[in-house]
């Protein structure tokens, strides 16, 4: 069975077959319930994942069942999203890469004082030339002006 369900007083456990629902899919689906539930993930055997949804507020059995149904709808959405993303990855890279490349500043702007030196030709759309994903402390150390990375204009 791909999904089995078990209800307790205040929570519901769903056991998912990871052959059908790869782990990133189940995790993404569970994540959508963070605002309403406490979520617990557990491995079960080699290829099963247990997702436990526990209501943050007092919850009836019927509402728990409802949550489980909603979770399964969300699983379907995330599964399809995952499959389509895998199937179309090359196309996405080509389209998104082209669109971002066209929006890159003219070389004078990119090379202006305070600007980064990475030119559009070197860029991949997943690159992070400004180090935006790098924690602040790591990037500038302590005691620096927050606008220290600001860029002048051409």
């Amino acid at each position: 069975m791909e999904i089995s369900r078990e209800t307790t007083k205040d929570s519901i456990r769903l056991e998912l077959d990871e052959k059908l629902f790869p782990r990133p899919v189940s995790v993404a689906a569970a994540y959508r319930f963070l605002d309403r539930c406490y979520i617990r993930l557990e491995r079960a055997g080699k290829q099963h994942l247990i997702v436990q949804l526990k209501g943050k507020q007092k919850i009836t059995k019927a509402s728990l069942e409802c949550l489980a149904e909603e979770f399964q709808n969300e699983l379907l959405h995330q599964l399809l999203r995952h499959q389509v993303a895998e199937r179309t990855a090359g196309l996405r890279d080509a389209i998104v890469g082209r669109a971002l490349f066209s929006a890159e500043p003219a070389p004078t702007e990119a090379a202006s004082p305070g600007g980064d030196s990475a030119g559009p030709a070197d860029m991949d759309y997943l690159d992070d030339p400004l180090g935006i994903a790098v924690p602040w402390e790591e990037k500038y150390g302590e005691g620096q002006d927050k606008n220290g990375g600001g860029q002048g204009q051409s």
């Binding site: 499959q83 971002l100 500043p105 305070g114 992070d128 400004l130």
Partner: protein
């Protein structure tokens, strides 16, 4: 209605997507570039089975639509795809400046960021506007459209004047072409300001929601009639254009109708008001939920089905008027038809893939904060800065365009790669809005079966394909796709599709 794809046994097919039209008799088949054939169910079965005789009229239709493999056909498809994807080559050309949050009117559906006419500290300063222009002119796009919005942007007219003059100067120095557009209720304008706008080629867009009673119900202005005031200003613009010898077919105030709950019952009266005013275009914009509280939505909002019922009536009324010799078209349909019937790329920010967020447009708040689009700014006004991608006071164009938010929205609106859309026959004509999805579902990617925006787009495409099958209607609808060159009036050609979001 369920519909099973018959077994595909024809090896000579190009990649295609299909949709059974409501009613269950006709199937729309589209190729990757958006060329299409409408087939009966039986013809479609024969087409995929490879049993459609060569001399059958439907065989010619599928060949012309590039749905059958041939060396020549493949080259044509690539060329069509390239033409239809020109927006991928442009960079941000549309720059929306929020000159003020102040407004002298109070529309029932207005978003949260509006402030009263006397509010302080919510106007863009000249210094901020100059910084905005630094960013605008660093865009690689050779054509730049500066769109003034608010609040009511003409309440900060001196900064508008500064931007027009300074941008014109920078355009001559940089060799870029600059175009201005103003989205206004027009009421604060006097003759001197109207003359300035006309003399500087600023395209003007305003709102008429319908006959006076409907308009004044939607657009409250203390005890005065907003309808009367707008009409009076439109007349003053008409006179100003005429005084300069400009062709009234090209020089006119663009009008837009926001459809509120009260409009739903009177589509014909709404269209007739546009005819009465001599307008050749009516844009029936549905309400969006940005910045609108739940209470207001409950009062003014409606379902996709309600809007579509309204839209179908309005559309059919316009076609009836066209048949009687009255020249008028609906703008949403005109945009979709341009994509359906031609290989042109109208570059409408919300109906392209990826959408224009960041890569096609940027919106600048009065305080210099930069957003992926004006809708992203409205989300910020609701307290969520998710779509803020920079600040002109703190960084330049490169910082803004390389913000991870731009990439996220680009990926999230690339509909060739989204669940539902990637298999949808209408994908070549459509566009998705990650900001809308975020507001409605808390996720940049929608669950399409429960998404009203998708339902509306699909419903309008269904309607157009239904009507395209009717005898004699295609040539009439083809006329809606003609984009008239208005460059003699404005600085550069005004694309039919320049996105506007009238207040």
């Amino acid at each position: 209605m369920s519909f099973e794809l018959p077994e595909v046994r024809n090896p000579g097919l190009m990649p295609f997507r299909f949709r059974l039209l409501p009613g269950g008799r006709a199937v729309v088949v589209t190729d990757l570039a958006g060329r299409f054939a409408i087939l009966s169910r039986e013809e479609f079965g024969d087409f995929v089975a490879g049993t459609l005789p060569d001399d059958h009229p439907a065989a010619a239709r599928v060949r012309n639509a590039g749905l059958v493999r041939s060396a020549e056909g493949e080259t044509d498809t690539v060329a069509a795809l390239r033409r239809r994807s020109e927006h991928l080559m442009r960079g941000p050309g549309l720059h929306i400046l929020i000159l003020t949050l102040r407004c002298n009117q109070a529309c029932v559906y207005c978003h949260a960021s509006r402030k009263g006419e006397g509010a302080e500290g919510v106007d863009m300063s000249q210094q901020t506007a100059a910084r905005v222009l630094d960013v605008v002119f660093a865009s690689p796009s050779p054509d730049l459209t500066l769109e003034f919005q608010g609040g009511e942007p003409t309440l900060n007219f001196e900064v508008l004047r500064f931007v027009v003059e300074e941008a014109s100067r920078r355009a001559s120095a940089s060799g870029k072409r600059v175009f201005f557009s103003l989205v206004s209720n027009l009421s604060p304008l006097d003759q001197e300001k109207i003359d300035f706008l006309v003399d500087h080629g600023v395209m003007v867009c305003s709102s008429i929601d319908g006959p006076a009673a409907l308009h004044d119900r939607n657009r409250r202005w203390s005890s005065r009639s907003a309808h009367q005031a707008t009409l009076a200003r439109i007349e003053e613009f008409r006179r100003a254009y005429a005084k300069r010898g400009l062709d009234p077919e090209l020089a006119f105030v663009n009008l837009l109708a926001t459809v509120s709950r009260a409009s739903l019952a009177q589509p014909e009266a709404l269209v007739d008001e546009y005819v009465r005013l001599g307008s050749k275009v009516v844009h029936l914009r549905s309400l969006n939920p940005f910045g609108m509280g739940k209470k207001i939505w409950a009062k003014e909002g409606y379902t996709a089905e309600e809007y579509l019922a309204f839209y179908r009536r309005a559309f059919d009324h316009i076609v009836k008027l066209n048949r009687a010799g009255v020249e008028i078209m609906e703008k949403i349909a005109a945009l979709a038809l341009t994509r359906i019937l031609t290989d042109d790329d109208p570059n409408y920010m919300d109906l392209r893939s990826p959408c224009g967020a960041g890569i096609g447009q940027l919106a600048y708040g009065y305080d210099g904060k930069v957003y992926t689009c004006d809708e992203g700014r409205m989300v910020a006004a609701m307290g969520d800065p998710m779509f803020c991608i920079g600040d002109v006071q703190a960084g330049g164009y490169a910082d803004i365009i390389r913000h991870p938010g731009v990439r996220s929205l680009c990926v999230a609106s690339c509909l060739e790669c989204l669940p539902g859309c990637s298999d949808c026959a209408y994908a070549p004509y459509c566009g998705v809005c990650p900001v809308y999805n975020y507001v409605q579902e808390g996720d940049l990617v929608a669950r399409w079966p429960q998404n009203d925006r998708c339902r509306i787009q699909m419903g309008i495409a269904d309607l157009l394909f239904e009507r395209l099958q009717e005898p004699g209607l295609e040539p009439l609808l083809r006329r809606w796709t003609i984009n008239r060159d208005r460059s003699s009036v404005y600085r550069r050609m005004m694309p039919l599709t320049t996105p506007v979001t009238c207040p």
